[in-house]
Symmetry: C2
Subunit: 393 residues, 2 copies
């Protein structure tokens, strides 16, 4: 039994409202409530088609008076037009009424199937019911973390204790995960006192160093949301204390991101891609992302096929200028391509490395500069195809 | 038995040289020879990592004195460093010697596994042997068209007769096919008299309207090559006659491109994506390509899952600015999303449409302008994963 570092003054609930029709009854409606008004900031999908809850959160953030978040899983409330926006706002009003705050102090997230209107009767009865279950503690946190899952196989919780406060993070996401985020929801709660401008500045930096360094298949979701809530009273953190908080918050996000890649739909391998020696970090990430999203690379990893030319050729179409003589590739401990020249290698040994290890590492080393990036992805398996071939039907 | 329109003065050969070790013996070495020096132009992969034969062709084109092309299948001669370049040039020298022309009059193409040095002893004996088999006629053409195949299930030949001349095209390609071309080789031969500048201008336009409008998984190959050879004697075509030739050549390329998408690895559906009403044709193609390469769209099509939100959301992350109210989506005859609003639909009927038809059509209609694009792709199936999980092992 893990004990989490719990930020003070946050309560959680997770119930089965009936939004998911599945048997046995699955949790589908969660609440996060802060006992005090919290400073809040968010990062959202860059998709032009974005879900109604994302519109509502964007309108309301950043803020210094957020009291909570209502989250439903099973329906994305995306591509739902004006009705969807009305429904998302109604969810916040129901949650606010249940806990006795103003509707504009509540945020909302949804994840699930796109293009279906929410069954609002279910929300009308479910949200007050969820509010009655609000509680502090490990068990309530874990229940909320399970409630937001869709195709994930396990909850994702990461926490940190610093001197006088805690950071409590949880997330969901197992597919449609691409850089610029994709169906992922992540919540980072702290009892540290943080200035709203500092939190708003931190949010995109943390996303960039975590959720934007993983990819399952590169499909940017309509619903991606990362929300930070900080409810600490007293003088706001400054200087070194603020920097310590920033680092810890980024680490929590990075751990949650890695958890997502490790739990990717149908994946049998977690792949860490190190790209180094590019002109800039952005170039390194562009190359890592392109390799990570090559279906040919992903299927070769699934098959433990040491077909390394697919990795090198994916780097070649990333749009970053380089000459072949400026690139070397290592898979595990095997140097396969040395400054543009293929090396003889023991294909059976490389294949065995790929078969025997659930976690694989590849390293693309350029001789262009000091840029670097560490990126996580997974393989593409029969199970991924099966899971996604009949998601709605 | 199809009879092809054969451009005069071209001979073909296809043999089993031993480059492919597979049993039963597979054809793996082809020759195309023009009896007269031909005007030639090409379009090549935009991958930074490009195969040795691509380097050699680029050096030699455009040209007014090409006598032929030597093509091996089973080995890409890519990521093979200086040795690979030497080997590609040696292939042209062997072919030139066998038919009695200068080495620099020959072009070379390879397709297959990346990162392996060519077994040159096999080429030394195979190329002269292939030259002995050179012949005109349908049978020789078909044999060459079969020889260049890798994972294709069938040869791809498209021809046209115009008033006084013919266009004879053939191609291979079933994966690693992405816009900007990917492991595809295509050869378009004509006995029309074309000026070298006109042919060089036509080549990229034809590629853009054909091979750059298909995608299997978006992985740009190291070896993509489209070569045009025109060996007609006499006054070069001008004006209306030239335009007529250009249109026919583009049509041949478009038909070959569609053949590739229809024969994509493991595919069970050919999907035509019409995007219209964007500001420009380039915007339409960007959106079509993004939808075509979404693994979530492709798996939904495989599963006959009418999960249309994936299509709309893929359009949303293509990088083209639009509002949801400016987009409508039709799948087959079913209008699913009307200017930003989801319509009620019969999911079983849409799923039946997807199950019952090997060829599916989707139409994304924007209200932004007059841009349009027709794009071809396929679904992502268990067979695709199986084929690519153990390609080299």
């Amino acid at each position: 039994m893990t004990t989490w570092h719990l930020a003070r003054g946050f309560r959680f609930a997770g119930i089965h409202s009936g939004l998911r029709a599945s048997e046995p009854a699955r949790l589908d409606l969660a609440l996060i409530v802060s006992n005090l008004p919290a400073v809040a900031a968010g990062v959202f999908t860059q998709n032009r088609v974005c879900a109604a809850p994302v519109h509502v959160c964007r309108e309301r953030l950043p803020s210094s008076a957020v009291r909570g978040i209502v989250i439903c899983s099973g329906n994305a409330n995306a591509c739902t037009g004006q009705q969807g926006l009305d429904d998302a706002r109604r969810m916040t009003a129901l949650a606010a009424e249940s806990i006795g705050v103003d509707a504009r102090q509540m945020l909302v997230c949804s994840t699930g199937v796109i293009g279906r209107l929410l069954p609002m009767a279910v929300m009308e009865s479910g949200i007050p019911k969820a509010a009655k279950e609000l509680a502090e503690g490990d068990e309530a946190l874990e229940r909320a973390a399970r409630t937001i899952l869709t195709t994930d196989t396990r909850p994702k919780i990461r926490t940190r204790a610093l001197n006088e406060y805690c950071i409590t993070g949880f997330a969901k996401g197992a597919a449609m995960i691409g850089p610029n985020m994709a169906t992922m929801l992540a919540f980072v709660l702290t009892d540290a006192p943080i200035d709203v401008a500092d939190l708003a500045a931190l949010a995109p930096v943390a996303a960039d160093q975590s959720f934007n360094c993983i990819s399952v298949e590169g499909h940017t979701s309509t619903n991606d949301t990362l929300l930070f809530l900080a409810n600490g009273a007293g003088p706001k953190l400054k200087g070194k204390a603020l920097e310590q908080f920033r680092q810890a918050a980024i680490e929590v996000c990075a751990e949650l991101a890695r958890d997502m890649a490790a739990d990717a739909e149908g994946a049998s391998h977690l792949v860490t891609i190190h790209v180094e020696g590019t002109r800039t970090g952005a170039e390194a990430r562009t190359i890592a992302k392109t390799v990570a999203e090559s279906v040919l690379v992903k299927t070769a990893i699934f098959g433990a096929d040491p077909n390394w030319g697919r990795i090198v050729s994916a780097a070649g179409y990333a749009g970053v200028p380089f000459a072949e003589s400026q690139l070397s590739l290592t898979l595990g401990d095997f140097l396969l391509y040395d400054k543009g020249t293929p090396l003889p290698f023991d294909a059976a040994a490389v294949s065995s490395y790929m078969k025997a290890n659930r976690e694989l590492t590849m390293r693309l080393t350029f001789t262009l500069g000091g840029g670097r990036c560490t990126f996580y992805t997974c393989d593409l398996t029969y199970d991924y195809v099966r899971l996604n071939a009949d998601y709605t039907t």
